[in-house]
C-alpha cells in the first residue's frame, strides 16, 4: 500500500496532527448538532398553529434522499481505497460519484424546503418551522461544504496535485463526509420517522 497509510508522522504522538484535529473538530460538531436536535425535540408538538410535521412530511421522498446520502458514504470510502492503492482513475470516478450523490441530496432538500414554504411552513411561522429549518438547513450547509471539498479534490487529482502520498487529504474529507452522513442518520430517525 502506498501513501499516508504507511507514513509515520514525526509528531509527539506519532499520529498525524491533521487527522487528530479533524477528529477533535468532529467531536465538537457532535455538540453543535446535538444542541440543534435537542432544540427540535424540545419544541416538538408545541406549535400552536400549523402546518404541523404530519401535514408536510413526505416520508417516501425523504427516504430516497437518505438512501442517496448513505450510498455516497460507500462511494467516498471506495475513493479513499482507490487512492491508497494509487488508482487515480477510480479515485476520480468515486469522488465524482460522491459529489453527484451529494448534489442530488442537497437538490432534494432544496425542493423539499420549497414545497414546505408553499404549504405555509416558514422559518418564522411556528416553533416547528424554526427548529426544523435551522437543523436541516445547517446540515444541508455542511453537505454543501463537503461537495465543494470533494470537487476541489477532484480538480487537484485532474491536475496531478493529489499523488498517493497525499491520500490523507482524501481521508480527512472522507471523515467529514461520513460525519454529515451519520448526522443525517440521526435526523432522519428522530425528526422524520419518530411520531410526534
Amino acid at each position: 500500500m502506498t501513501g499516508d497509510a504507511v507514513h509515520v508522522p514525526h509528531t509527539a504522538t506519532g499520529l498525524d496532527n491533521r487527522k487528530l484535529g479533524m477528529w477533535a473538530f468532529l467531536g465538537s460538531e457532535c455538540l453543535f448538532f446535538g444542541s440543534l436536535i435537542a432544540t427540535y425535540l424540545l419544541y416538538r408538538g408545541r406549535s400552536i398553529q400549523g402546518p404541523f410535521p404530519e401535514d408536510v412530511y413526505d416520508i417516501p421522498y425523504t427516504s430516497v434522499s437518505s438512501f442517496v446520502l448513505l450510498m455516497s458514504s460507500l462511494t467516498m470510502v471506495l475513493a479513499l481505497h482507490a487512492i491508497q492503492r494509487g488508482d487515480h482513475r477510480r479515485l476520480r470516478a468515486w469522488l465524482l460519484a460522491t459529489a453527484l450523490l451529494g448534489i442530488t441530496f442537497v437538490g432534494g432538500q432544496v425542493f423539499e424546503f420549497t414545497v414546505f414554504v408553499r404549504e405555509g411552513l416558514t422559518l418564522s411561522r411556528n416553533l416547528f418551522g424554526s427548529s426544523f429549518f435551522v437543523l436541516t438547513g445547517f446540515h444541508g450547509a455542511h453537505v454543501t461544504m463537503g461537495i465543494l471539498m470533494l470537487l476541489t479534490l477532484y480538480g487537484m487529482s485532474l491536475t496531478g496535485r493529489l499523488p498517493a502520498e497525499r491520500a490523507l487529504r482524501v481521508e480527512l474529507v472522507g471523515l467529514y463526509w461520513h460525519f454529515v452522513d451519520i448526522v443525517w442518520i440521526v435526523i432522519f430517525t428522530v425528526v422524520y420517522l419518530i411520531p410526534t
Binding site: V8, G27, C30, F33, S35, T39, S63, L74, P195
Partner: protein, 141 residues
C-alpha cells in the same frame, strides 16, 4: 495511565506496528456488504414508520435501535474507527458523550418527558459499548 499504556496509545501506527487483527483494512467487498446492510436497515426503519399494530413505545425503541446500528456501522467501518488508534475513538466519543449530556440536561430541565431521556441513555450505553469494549462479535475473523 501507565507508561506501558501510553506507549501503546501513541506508538506510531504504521501497518508493521498494528496487531495482526488490525493490519488489513476492509476491502471494497466488505464496504459494499456494509452498504447493503445499511440499505436494508433503512428499509426496515421506513417499514416501521407505516406499521400501525405496534405501540408507539415499541416503534420508537426499534427505530432508535436501528438508528444506532446504522450510526455504528458507518463510524466503525467507513470512518475506520475500528482499525485506527484508540485516541481518535476517544476524541469522538468524548464529543458524543458531551453532546448527549447536553441533550439529556435540556430534555430533563424543560420537561420533555422521561421516555426520551431513558431512550437517550440506552443509546449512549449501546454506543459507548460499541466504541470502547469492541465486543468479540465485531472483530474481524
Amino acid at each position: 495511565m501507565s507508561t506501558e499504556t501510553e506507549r501503546q496509545e501513541f506508538e506510531p501506527r504504521g501497518e508493521a506496528h498494528l496487531p495482526a487483527e488490525d493490519q488489513a483494512h476492509p476491502g471494497p467487498r466488505e464496504y459494499v456488504m456494509i452498504a447493503i446492510v445499511l440499505a436494508i436497515v433503512t428499509g426496515m426503519e421506513v417499514a416501521l414508520f407505516y406499521v400501525d399494530f405496534l405501540s408507539s413505545t415499541v416503534v420508537v425503541t426499534a427505530l432508535l435501535l436501528l438508528m444506532t446500528i446504522k450510526f455504528a456501522l458507518v463510524v466503525l467501518w467507513f470512518m475506520h474507527l475500528r482499525f485506527d488508534p484508540p485516541v481518535f475513538k476517544r476524541l469522538f466519543v468524548t464529543g458524543l458523550a458531551l453532546a448527549l449530556s447536553v441533550f439529556l440536561v435540556v430534555m430533563l430541565t424543560f420537561g420533555a418527558g422521561v421516555v426520551p431521556a431513558v431512550l437517550a441513555v440506552a443509546f449512549v450505553l449501546v454506543l459507548l459499548g460499541l466504541f470502547l469494549a469492541r465486543p468479540r462479535f465485531l472483530r474481524r475473523a
